[in-house]
Symmetry: C3
């Protein structure tokens, strides 16, 4: 039996920020598939297989004519659904001539595509990533395109924040993260890790944001994984004794790290990230500073993760050992990988049923 696929296909994956996709042809590799994205004249986004039916030239080297894509080699034309509508120098069109079109929706400021069976592509299944909408919560993130690691290494990283103590010791790291107990719960599609650090000195990052000199704080990290590739991390601090653990965060500051990670290949991924907050929302200077704190020419928090993740993948490639050894801190990551494996198995079942029905 072959090794299981690293990622399920019957699910929505983030493909791009909505602002990235316009009338230019944008090639991208997602889940091992080369696709080209472009915006139709009615504003919707089309996602086609990026290889002409005829001779495989990437369609992204062609050009748009209205809503249709013209191949740059021999001029075959495809509509936004992938159907060939014109062949050069012949009147008859082979009725089977088409390229694959991927179900595509825009939501939460991202473009999502469904790489699996189109019949199952229910837009209602796009995961709740609403903190990225730019309304109640604000922030301007970015993308690591073609990050050189298995997307699950990013998930491991986000589902265990003890690494902050070592990887981000100069900003959000804190020995208290290690000392505080944490709790992991799960449903069949999500995993939630909750950690409260009560009555501690705030680490530098949060001290600056809270701006209450001398105050001790309660700090929280409530990180939710939504299978197979979304993480929403509710994080913040509030002045100790003001009721944050009981639900009153009014004497605190609250942010969220948002991550949509999409496999590019088995060993590379695209990482759409944002860090949003629900306070001081009109402060553009603060927004810019938070963005810069995360990605800043190698010096940001995510740059630090980037370095670790790529080094980890290289080490795995050079030194394969399966499975990893695990610690108590890996409980969140373990559940995450378990849910992914279940989705992958469900893909196989769906394909089997589909085949049986034919």
């Amino acid at each position: 039996m072959a090794e299981a696929r690293a990622y399920p296909l019957n699910t929505w994956y983030a493909a791009a920020w909505t602002t990235e996709i316009g009338r230019a042809l944008t090639p991208r590799k997602l889940c091992g598939k080369s696709v080209v994205l472009y915006r139709l004249t009615d504003g919707r986004v089309a996602t086609l297989e990026d290889a002409c039916w005829h001779r495989l030239l990437p369609l992204s080297l062609g050009f748009l004519r209205g809503d249709e894509l013209v191949c740059g080699y021999h001029g075959l034309v495809f509509d936004g659904g992938g159907r060939c509508t014109h062949m050069p120098a012949q009147q008859t069109i082979n009725p089977s001539a088409s390229v694959r079109a991927y179900p595509t929706v825009e939501r939460h400021r991202l473009v999502w595509i469904w790489p699996g069976d189109p019949a199952l592509a229910d837009p209602e299944l796009v995961p709740d990533f609403s903190r990225n909408d730019g309304t109640d919560w604000v922030g301007e993130g970015g993308t690591f395109v073609s990050l050189k690691c298995d997307y699950r290494l990013v998930l491991d990283n986000l589902m265990d924040l003890t690494h902050e103590t070592y990887v981000h010791s100069d900003s959000i790291g804190d020995e208290n993260i290690l000392a505080a107990p944490f709790d992991v719960t799960h449903t069949d599609r999500s995993v939630t890790l909750t950690r409260w650090m009560t009555d501690i000195e705030p680490p530098p990052f949060w001290r600056r944001l809270l701006n209450r000199p001398g105050a001790r704080v309660d700090r929280w990290q409530i990180v939710t994984f939504k299978a197979p590739s979304i993480v929403v991390g509710d994080v913040g601090v509030a002045v100790t004794g003001t009721g944050a653990p009981q639900g009153d965060r009014s004497q605190g500051v609250n942010g969220a790290f948002l991550a949509a990670i999409t496999p590019e290949t088995d060993k590379t991924c695209h990482y759409f990230w944002n860090f949003v907050r629900n306070f001081d929302r009109d402060n553009d200077e603060l927004t810019a500073a938070l963005t810069k704190g995360h990605v800043n020419d190698g010096k940001g928090v995510y740059d630090q993760d980037h370095r670790v993740l790529e080094a980890q993948q290289a080490a795995i490639d050079g030194n394969p050992r399966t499975p990893f050894y695990n610690l108590n801190i890996d409980a969140g990551a373990l559940w995450t990988r378990r849910l992914i494996a279940e989705l992958v198995a469900r893909d196989t079942d769906a394909a089997t049923m589909h085949a049986a029905a034919e």
Copy 2:
């Protein structure tokens, strides 16, 4: 059964322009074989396996002593026929010590080598590439060394000029190419594609060369493939109604694109190209302009093909689908590939007979 080889071996392939080969040692990979070319003192070109018999150091790192090549590591000496004539620190020479020598001829301003069975290497089999001689037809072409595509993709490209409409829309492309009927004929060693576009507006490239403002023209493309790797494309325009389709080209301008494409590996090739004409032959400025029109730092006609061909190969590698789907326009390319496949099969037969005879 293994997949058939992409190219036959018992045939002549262009290895270099004659002007490229002098007393310097020129390494080149041809049909998967590393060879070194150099000119003997009598002016002939020798082509040897580029790996010393002893320890495989490329002989191209050595030096010439008269007609003999001295290995740069331990000083073994090989004559132009590949036979070892000197071994260091010993009197006796192993009589079997040699490197392979490839039959080599110069013709039509190119050096040709025969990578297959030397016993079959008849110089009379060098394909007619006489328009490259620099006499009746003039032009100064060049070489794409190590173009990153299967050489057959170049042949596909040249045997179907409808791509001009899309790839070269700013120069020789023309919607009329698509509208005009074409005819494909073949022998057992050649394929000829003929297309006449009568009574049309000349496209920009030909309008400039013809220099008959306002005239409508008859345009022709008569492209001949000579198996396995030569294409001669007779192309031109003449003023409509002056008899060109019937054979009188006196009121027109006539050029020819010449291509000798040699596999370097299964997925790379060397492309020796020229564009020649039989009019205004002493006009060096025009010669230079035509050369520049074809290859010009990424902006020439062949630069445009180059980009398409390499992108197509990359797409094939990332997205294997065999065989290609074909259109009516692919008739020339289909025959081309069929003749190549027959030559490859004939190689196998020759090898079998050879083995049986021993």
Copy 3:
């Protein structure tokens, strides 16, 4: 049966110059294994597997805390013996948690590690490389890190100095090397090649060092291979007739090229080299000149070898032919490879016995 390993494991290999290893974490790949070297507070050198037990992040990306190495991802701590002494956020330590520690000794100004069975790692087995000690013989060598060739190609090179005539024709090369007879002897762990060239014109390199204008010399090359990866080449010239061949070198100059070559992978190696002399030892200018004569931005003697060795490996990769053809001059190299093959076989036997005993 799989192809035999290219190198034995139950042996000492040079890993670094002692001066290279301090409190910084130094990653290096040796015998296919990624290791990290660092100096403990008591001055000894520790060599650990460069991959955390937990999630494989290279430990070289972590930091030292006293004698212990802290992983830069989740803070696992390992002592100099590779045992995990701390795990984040938990009291209990998995008793099997450890990374591999390699026996390490410092001798002859080099750090040596034993990549095989630690139980067999007897420091007395470190080969005699005492001419590198910096006492009786002086010289300042260097390292080719990650030379792109099988380490045995370097041994071939050093065990047959006829190549000097061709590769180093401008310095130490001499046609006399080819003319002079040589003798090869061996034990079960060493091979010695002896060549005397009597009553010759000294080549440029030695003429300068001897500084006896007009004198003819006796030149010697006594090169000893110590399995599996050390070469000591005793070389020099003395005025002819003063008794050098009989043992009196007082009217001559004597140097030694020293080489410790360590496989990095099957096709790359690290080459620790030195050229030492026992005369004019306080002449730092001469020391610097000799170093520069060997490695000098591509122009030194070893730079010339470097170029040949990497080209040879590339040719082998592109043109596999096994075994090499051999000449008389290869007698030393042949014995060298035979002893290595015996050591590799002994590794297998040791592993078999080890398995049987369990």
